[in-house]
């Protein structure tokens, strides 16, 4: 049981990180569909850095930087050149898939040391809870830290409220003097950083090697997760654990011979997302505060 819970948590972390980053970007009004691409570049960047510097912690930094680099490309096009966000995001993923394939070619067949588990004095020795809560790797703790940070940031900090204002109505925010483009740049790059670390987690912890397209669609699930969480940070934790839990439950069900078709269970996370979407759009007619109103719209104001 303990091993299964640990597997669920490990599977959830890349989703959680990427979704947390995307949440901030979307709150500022930027819909970046390039999450999958940013995760892939995080993965290849992390692997390259660890092979070069032989320390898995540099992999986290390299993953974050690779993600930021990809997010900068996206920002440059959508924020400065005012291209369509959906098309640019899709383009970013396609571009990153090709680029990481090229950059990763020399890394094929190499394996790296995994990120070590950090034990917290005494607490790690508590049965079950100890190994689940207090014997995780650095990124696992970091991801919870990021969720707590963005919850407080969005709700209580001035910058967070400005960011939400930019996402809700960029014209008004601009007219009272907030630098809309700059704020969106920061938010998108934060999203890139989180997606990059999420991608880096795959080679650093889950499967320590590089293979092309190894994120296998997790970026798209992260995007769905933001909607599933209806842009509320703590719900991302719940959502990621549900997504991860269903993924693992599906495998356990097969190993134990449960009489449920595995395809049905594989569908569950997506069905849950559609239900969440429907519920949100139902609520939207009454209460307009869930979806950032300027989401996906380019800002043309001069600066």
């Amino acid at each position: 049981m303990e091993a299964l819970i640990l597997t669920i948590i490990a599977t959830s972390i890349p989703l959680l990180l990427a979704a947390a980053g995307e949440l901030i970007a979307e709150k500022s009004g930027v819909l970046n569909l390039g999450v999958e691409g940013m995760m892939l570049s995080g993965a290849v960047g992390a692997l390259g850095a660890v092979l070069w510097l032989e320390n898995p912690y540099y992999g986290i930094i390299a993953g974050a930087l690779s993600g930021i680099l990809m997010a900068s490309i996206f920002s440059l096009f959508t924020i400065n050149f005012m291209t369509n966000q959906v098309a640019t995001g899709l383009g970013l993923t396609i571009f990153a898939t090709g680029l990481t394939g090229l950059a990763g070619a020399p890394l094929v067949g190499k394996t790296i040391p995994s990120l070590p588990k950090i034990e917290i004095f005494l607490l790690s020795d508590i049965p079950l809870i100890g190994s689940i809560l207090f014997k995780q790797d650095f990124v696992a703790y970091l991801s919870i830290g990021i969720i707590i940070f963005i919850s407080f940031f969005l709700k209580y900090s001035k910058s967070g409220i400005i960011l939400r204002a930019v996402g809700d109505d960029h014209q008004s925010a601009h007219s009272v003097g907030y630098p809309v483009k700059k704020i969106r740049w920061y938010a998108t790059c934060f999203g890139g950083m989180c997606a990059g670390i999420g991608g880096a987690y795959i080679p650093l912890v889950l499967t320590p090697h590089w293979s092309e397209g190894m994120t296998a669609g997790r970026g798209w699930i992260a995007l769905a997760l933001v909607v599933f969480a209806s842009w509320i940070p703590w719900r991302i934790i719940v959502g990621a654990l549900i997504f991860g839990g269903i993924t693992i439950a599906q495998l356990v069900g097969q190993a134990r011979g449960w009489p449920i078709p595995s395809q049905l269970l594989s569908m569950m996370p997506y069905i849950a997302t559609i239900i969440a979407l429907t519920m949100i759009s139902g609520r939207l007619s009454k209460n307009n505060s869930v979806v950032p109103s300027s989401l996906g719209k380019p800002f043309f104001g001069s600066q």
Partner: protein, 374 residues
């Protein structure tokens, strides 16, 4: 700002145009050399998968090494199965390739379609069952390696639980599981196989998760019919053992890989290209069912077993005996009496399943838990 963007755009278009211009200027030069055989390959993914496509890449390299300047090889990677494949294969045929290897099951109909348009070009489709005047097929008896895996697993397991990760519940994969079960039960009647279907050929994280679940459920030996080395890496980390798939994966799991079944396409490619150069290429006259006219295994070296490692000498010896037995024909993996896991007799003693029956497998033999989905 706008002007700079337009200028940049024009530069990019110019650069791309220049590259294409370069490309075209090369084609007529190559066509003048009549003694050169032009060979085309279509890959499903890239050699970076370190599995299925990588094995084809190694075969292609053997072709280049063997023929040197006498062949000119063109490869198209990452070709999705479907309309895109038709387009890519047609381009290769138009480009003057005399023989084209299409290396995935889903290229079957596209290959036949293009073959009709280019009757002078020869096509070799990997793992398909449809042929025509200029389309031959080739496949490997992957299941032979799995029998040996079963023997080793049966001798090495302490928990008597084997975790198997399958891609899709199709005959090709099911016959592998059943061959594994036959090997397993030849040495250990108490061990059972539990199967997890990943419903994908390639998703390293899902493969890793499946491996973790198997281990959490008590399996100590893992086998896979998916493409990435993720399963073996988990085995290495968790102290379990397993088998490499398509290529030698010991670099990923030096302590966990017992051995790998290696797909060796090179000799088959070379033979077919040689036949073409001598004007003797044909589609063969093998029995007309699923596996097509070239279906080679351990005996013809299309399937190779890597070094036996991480096991005691006695086990390695038993494995070697199984290997020799299959090669000499002493061991017939699917010889009767065969009983499926519900107790139904598939075939009585004294008889054996023929190749056609293997491609109709939709049941598990004794030793496998659960039932085939769908």
């Amino acid at each position: 700002m706008r002007n700079i963007v337009i200028l940049l755009g024009l530069l990019v278009i110019g650069a791309v145009g220049f590259l294409f211009y370069q490309d075209k200027s090369e084609i007529p030069v190559a066509e003048k050399e009549t003694s050169v055989t032009k060979v085309g390959f279509v890959y499903l993914t890239t050699p970076g998968d370190h599995g299925w496509t990588y094995a084809h890449e190694l075969g292609k390299q053997m072709v280049e090494k063997r023929f040197g300047k006498d062949v000119k090889v063109s490869v198209v990677e990452n070709v999705p199965e479907g309309p895109d494949a038709t387009r890519v294969i047609r381009e290769l045929a138009k480009g003057g390739n005399e023989i084209i290897f299409t290396t995935s099951f889903g290229y079957m109909d596209p290959t036949l379609k293009v073959a009709e348009e280019f009757p002078d070009v020869k096509f070799e489709h990997i793992t398909g069952y449809k042929r025509s005047k200029n389309v031959a097929t080739g496949n490997i008896r992957f299941y032979e390696g799995r029998y040996i895996q079963g023997v080793v697993a049966g001798l090495m397991t302490k928990t008597n639980k084997i975790g198997y990760i399958g891609a899709y519940p199709i005959a090709e994969v099911i016959m592998g599981i059943n061959a594994f079960a036959q090997g397993l039960r030849s040495v250990n009647k108490d061990a059972t196989i539990s199967v997890i279907w990943a419903n994908t050929w390639y998703d390293p994280v899902k493969e890793a998760d499946s491996a973790k679940v198997h281990i959490a459920e008590g399996a100590d030996i893992l086998a896979q019919h998916t493409d990435s080395p993720a399963m073996l890496q988990i085995a290495e980390k968790e102290g379990a053992l397993g088998f490499g798939q398509s290529t030698d994966m010991s670099a990923f799991a030096p302590k966990a890989q017992l051995f790998a079944s290696i797909n060796n396409w090179g000799p088959y490619y070379i033979k077919k290209i040689e036949e073409l150069r001598n004007g003797k290429w044909n589609t063969g006259d093998g029995p007309d069912h699923w596996a097509g006219n070239v279906w080679g295994g351990l005996k013809s070296d299309m399937l190779i077993i890597s070094k036996f490692q991480n096991m005691p000498d006695e086990v390695a010896q038993k494995a070697q005996e199984a290997l020799d037995g299959i090669k000499t024909g002493k061991i017939n993996i699917f010889a009767g009496p065969l009983i499926d896991n519900t107790g139904k007799e598939i075939i009585p003693a004294g008889k054996a399943l023929d190749d056609g029956a293997l491609w109709g497998m939709n049941y598990y033999l004794q030793g496998v838990d659960g039932k085939v989905p769908g």
